[in-house]
Amino acid sequence: MVRRMGGGPVAAVAARLAEMAALVLAISLVSFGLLLLARGDAATSVVREQGGAVSQARIEAERHRLGLDLPAPQRYADMLTRAVRGDLGNSIRSGRPVSGEIASRIGPTVTLALAGSVVAIVVGLFVGLAEAAARGWFVPALLRGGSLLLVSVPGFALAFGLVAQFSLRLGWFPTQGTDAGAWSLALPALVLGLPAGAALGRVLSTRLREVLAEPYLVTARAQGHSRLTCLLRWALPNATVTSLVVAGNILAALGTGTLVVEEVFGWSGLGSYLIAALRYRDWYPLNATVLLLCVVVIVVRGVSLSLATLVDERARSTP
């Protein structure tokens, strides 16, 4: 993506950062545009919530009170200037500042996403390496079939299944909430991390099999290195380079995966906040949450892409 030459790493990082900032700006424009397309707005929700007869006049009045009748460009510019000053606006539904509400809800989501990433990376490495290393046809077929099945089941269905088995039948884990500490984290982290791990494992094992067929693996074996050394020292680093970008995408998607998992397990995190805002057309919280999740994606992808470019460049050029 960055096609500039020279300037060293500082310039490259600066260029990448500028690119990310431009991306965030573009996304804020897209997400604002989407809200304009929406059917209904917060004024309708407010009037509906106040009860009584829902008349067009009441909605218009509410719209005026909330400033929703201003021209769209002005609203966008207003939102931007406020955001630059650190003010993300107030929730229409609760009247409280969005930044405060996000701060109070971000903890569980971050915990969940990190735990899910750990599960995903561990599972991904295990599935990828085991499938590439296994002999015969049974074990690889089992791992391939299992990982394909995991990526083909909706996350919430997997959650229901795990809850039915481990919470309802065996009673090992709570079905809802965050009260039981690590125990309440286990199932959500698995639901989030298993499919992502399966996806990672599929990518990694494909790349590993490609690398294992490379001529330099014949060299490694001819030099007398053991199968394990060949796999870990020769195949894995080379397979990881080509998997990095895809891995970045998969891990970045975990951020939004938390939405579903929070909904299933009744966690009060960013996901449920976003969905509530979406239903209410409460657009300051909605915009802020969408942008926050996008920034996470951009950063994770940017890091994985930079790593891949760095390693790739090393492989090609003089130090």
């Binding site: 993506m1 020279g6 991306l23 573009a26 996304i27 897209v30 997400s31 809200l35 397309l37 929406a38 059917r39 002999r135 015969g136 046809w137 394909l148 990526v151 083909s152 089941v153 909706p154 919430f156 269905a157 229901f160 299944g161 809850v163 039915a164 039948r169 067929a213 001529p215 330099y216 693996l217 014949v218 060299t219 074996r221 001819a222 030099q223 007398g224 290195h225 020769w234 680093p237 080379n238 998607a253 939004t256 939405l259 579903v260 909904e263 969905i275 979406l278 969408v290 996008c294 994606v297 951009i298 992808r301 390693v311 460049e313 090393r314 492989a315 090609r316 050029s317 003089t318 130090p319």
Partner: protein
């Protein structure tokens, strides 16, 4: 009988394996399309008397809490998913495909703009965008479908753009451009059909994503709402009954998973089929070498033999059965001796070497029989554990460096040190010091600097030396080197052959050199083993064999390596000028990973009518760029190229170019005859004349009508190259440029192609023949131009090269050519004996 039964069972299994996903998808489409007719509204009929019935006769999949039949609802629920899959695939193909092809084909500003747009859309997570869109648009099936479609198209732009770009610039399409094909023809006939494979795979993944996505949106309350029958909302409704009525959960969950898996599997197989035209990898056997318990007894092993191979055979499993690729090979190498294994490609040379140490790649299933004794110890039948201690320590095998035989990410010093640690048991620090000594031993001047580099930064000759250093790290008494010189420039090859001789003399190492270059064998080996179709057809003292070959295969190899000199000086002196190139300059622009490189720096060249000009130089001197420039394919070229006084333009179809790699120069989906017919058609040959002209072309280059029916991958390298030349001839060019026409071929095919070029020369065709090897061009050229650093620096006369060479590079090239010439090998070999220590 048993074998036939097994075959039938295997075929049946393959058929089921193929048809199962197809059947699942057919059922899904049927349910989605004909659902309303099949269910007749029963999916909404509630009957509280029949609530939560377990699966049974009345309701095959049971009933839900409102007494609705689960199976009926499952069938009705397919509709929403099917609509979404259909809409999304159309959106992705039309929007993603259209924009992708446009961006890849035109490139430039539009391409960069599209990449940015794709960047923005993919930075919004799919689920999030779909969620927001579905939430904002409403939850009907069409809205959900549109929401998902809007999120899933960007990968298509990226993949299709990249594939289009790659194929647009592929040599096969550039060749068509030179033959007069218009860009739309290339796009429609050669680029778009080739996208089928990757796009099909992508479509399958997308379909699976859509099915999962529809269900997820319903779950989040942003898609279909209960009581609408939809798999996602059925899952939501099943939640309170997870313990009491698990079938309510299982039925839709299994439906979603099975359809999604089927999409993935079918697309995967269709993609393979599109790309390769075969059902590749339908059934594979475990890669496990099978060895018999009994071994031939070795009666008379010469006592001094360091390596004794007796009756070695290799059978490879190819999906239908075993094929013998090495057949009863017997060889012996004494201590300190050198054996050269020579033969055409595919004669079993490499297989023999791999079999000795069981080094077959994981995907190859091989059966090895016979005996390989190393200093009296049998290797065939050893387990992996024991073999590992032999590899690198008792025998070092240096594989061919095609595509890189070194770890691309690890510093080369560390790679050598790894072997030292493994076999000499040194600590890391000491091993790294030893690695520096080894790098110095193989003639690397600045080992400390080179040790810190990665293979990508090294030249082919340097990589070959590093491989040798790593091989010597275990101090093995026997070294097996596979084609150590074949990817090198002539001068680098000479240096490497000298190095091998020096190492052998200094360390008293036995050497096995596998090569198709008789010149290399003659310079290094005391004994020669000639391979043909997996057998040793002749073996003996190198000079005796070369002087008095007994077997016809040996005679053919020698004849190919020692072509008779070209017919005495032709007189092209007063022929009119055909092409003049003046002061050509071209700088390849800076790229992400490298600074701007000047490829041409004031090159001049004149070609007279009917004349053949040879163009030689080491790799990186600008030969290929000059070739493309002369054909009018380099838009950035500065300077003038004139043909008969008019500026050259690829649209004039008067200069044709035979690209370096014959495989890349042909469209793998087109038969050879088809490619020739297209070229003739482009040249304006009438349809009624096509078959006759096509046959004539095939015959002209020595191919048959049978070759014309085959696809490129069904031909040997030499046959492919001839097909490419035939296609270039179809356009009746005034000038034919051939870029390294024989460097990918073994010596036998090389001689065939050189003879073809000679006969074209005798027909009066003007040619520019490019090679890094003076020994190739001297056989066809009237005049040889020597290129160095983007400039023509010298001109040689084929009959008197040594006397006409003035530039340093020319003298080196002439020396390298003399070094490997067959008429010098019968003279005493004067290899340097190494430092007198």
């Amino acid at each position: 009988m048993i074998r036939r039964g097994w075959e039938a069972a295997r075929r049946a299994l393959t058929a089921v394996w193929w048809s199962l996903p197809a059947a699942v998808l057919a059922a899904f489409v049927l349910a989605g399309a004909a659902g309303p007719i099949l269910t007749a509204g029963r999916e909404r009929q509630t009957d509280l008397n029949r609530a939560l019935l377990a699966p049974g006769a009345g309701a095959w999949l049971g009933t839900d809490h409102l007494g609705r039949d689960e199976l009926v609802r499952l069938v009705a629920g397919a509709r929403g998913s099917l609509i979404a899959v259909g809409v999304v695939l159309v959106v992705c193909l039309v929007l993603g495909g259209g924009l992708g092809v446009a961006a890849g084909w035109w490139g430039g500003l539009f391409d960069r703009f599209m990449l940015r747009v794709v960047d923005v859309v993919t930075s919004v997570p799919t689920l999030l965008l779909g969620l927001v869109l579905a939430g904002l648009l409403g939850g009907g099936p069409w809205q959900v479908a549109l929401a998902l479609g809007a999120t899933l198209w960007p990968p298509y732009v990226r993949v299709i753009r990249t594939e289009t770009r790659l194929r647009r610039d592929a040599p096969s399409n550039q060749a068509l451009l030179l033959l007069g094909a218009r860009p739309p023809r290339i796009l429609l006939r050669h680029v778009l059909p080739a996208l089928g494979g990757p796009v099909t795979v992508l479509l399958g993944i997308t379909a699976a994503e859509v099915i999962v996505g529809v269900a997820t949106l319903s779950f989040l309350g942003l898609g279909a709402r209960p009581p609408a029958p939809e798999w996602g909302s059925m899952l939501v409704e099943s939640r309170p009954y997870l313990s009491s009525a698990p079938w309510l959960f299982l039925a839709p969950a299994v439906a979603v998973a099975v359809v999604a898996v089927a999409c993935n599997l079918l697309a995967d197989r269709l993609g393979t089929w599109f790309t390769h035209g075969v059902r590749a990898g339908a059934v594979t056997r475990p890669a496990r070498a099978v060895r018999p318990a009994t071994r031939p007894t070795v009666a008379d092993v010469p006592a001094e033999a360091r390596l004794q191979v007796t009756g070695l055979s290799v059978d490879l499993y190819d999906g239908d059965g075993y094929t013998r690729v090495v057949d009863g090979v017997t060889l012996s190498v004494p201590a300190g001796g050198t054996l050269a294994i020579v033969g055409a490609s595919g004669s079993g040379k490499t297989m023999t070497a791999l079999a000795m140490l069981d080094l077959f790649p994981a995907q190859v299933s091989a059966r090895v029989t016979g005996s390989v004794r190393l200093a009296g110890r049998e290797l065939v039948g050893l387990d992996e554990q024991a073999l590992r201690r032999v590899r690198g320590r008792t025998v070092a095998y240096i594989p061919q460096d095609v595509g890189g035989a070194l770890h691309p990410l690890r510093r080369v010093g560390a790679q050598v040190a790894d072997v030292v640690v493994l076999h000499r048991g040194l600590r890391r620090r000491a091993a790294e010091r030893r690695a520096l000594e080894l790098l110095a031993l193989v003639g690397i001047d600045d080992p400390a600097r080179v040790a810190r580099q990665r293979p990508g930064a090294l030249s082919g000759g340097m990589r070959q030396r590093v491989l040798l250093a790593a091989a010597l790290a275990g101090e093995p008494p026997l070294l097996v080197a596979d084609e150590p010189t074949s990817s090198l420039d002539a001068t680098a090859a000479v240096a490497l052959v000298e190095l091998f001789g020096e190492i052998r003399n200094r360390l008293n190492t036995s050497l096995v050199i596998i090569t198709h270059e008789l010149g290399v064998a003659a310079r290094l080996a005391d004994t020669l083993a000639v391979f043909d179709q997996g057998r040793v057809v002749e073996t003996g003292d190198t000079h005796a064999v070369l002087r008095a070959p007994r077997h016809p295969v040996t005679r053919r190899l020698i004849a190919a390596a020692d072509l008779p000199p070209p017919r005495a000086d032709r007189d092209t002196g007063d022929a009119p000028v055909l092409l003049t190139a003046r002061d050509l300059r071209l700088v390849h622009p800076a790229h992400a990973r490298r600074p701007a490189v000047p490829a041409l720096a004031g090159a001049d060249l004149t070609v007279y009518r009917g004349e053949v000009v040879g163009l030689v130089g080491n790799s990186g001197c600008g030969k290929s760029t000059l070739a493309r420039s002369l054909a009018g394919l380099e838009p950035r070229l500065r300077g003038t190229v004139e043909l008969d006084g008019r500026p050259v333009d690829h649209r004039h179809q008067r200069v044709h170019l035979v690209f370096q790699d014959p495989t890349a120069a042909l469209n793998r989906r087109q038969s050879i005859g088809g490619a020739l017919a297209e070229a003739l058609h482009l040249h304006g040959v009438r349809a009624s004349d096509l078959p006759a002209r096509r046959t004539a072309l095939l015959r002209r280059v020595g191919l048959t009508a049978d070759h014309g029916r085959r696809r490129p991958w069904q031909l040997s390298g030499g046959e492919r190259q001839r097909a490419v030349i035939a296609r270039a001839l179809a356009g009746d060019p005034d000038l034919l440029i051939l870029d390294e026409p024989v460097s990918a071929l073994d010596c036998v095919h090389r001689a065939d192609v050189i003879n073809l070029l000679r006969s074209l020369r005798d027909d009066g065709l003007a040619m520019v023949v490019i090679s890094h090897d003076l020994g190739v061009v001297e056989h066809v050229a009237d005049r040889i131009a020597v290129m160095h650093s983007g400039r023509i620096v010298d001109e040689l006369r084929p009959g008197a090269m040594a006397t006409t060479a003035r530039h340093r590079i020319s003298r080196e090239l002439v020396a390298a050519r003399d070094f490997f010439r067959m008429d010098t090998v019968n003279r005493p070999v004067s290899l340097p004996k190494g430092p007198s220590t």
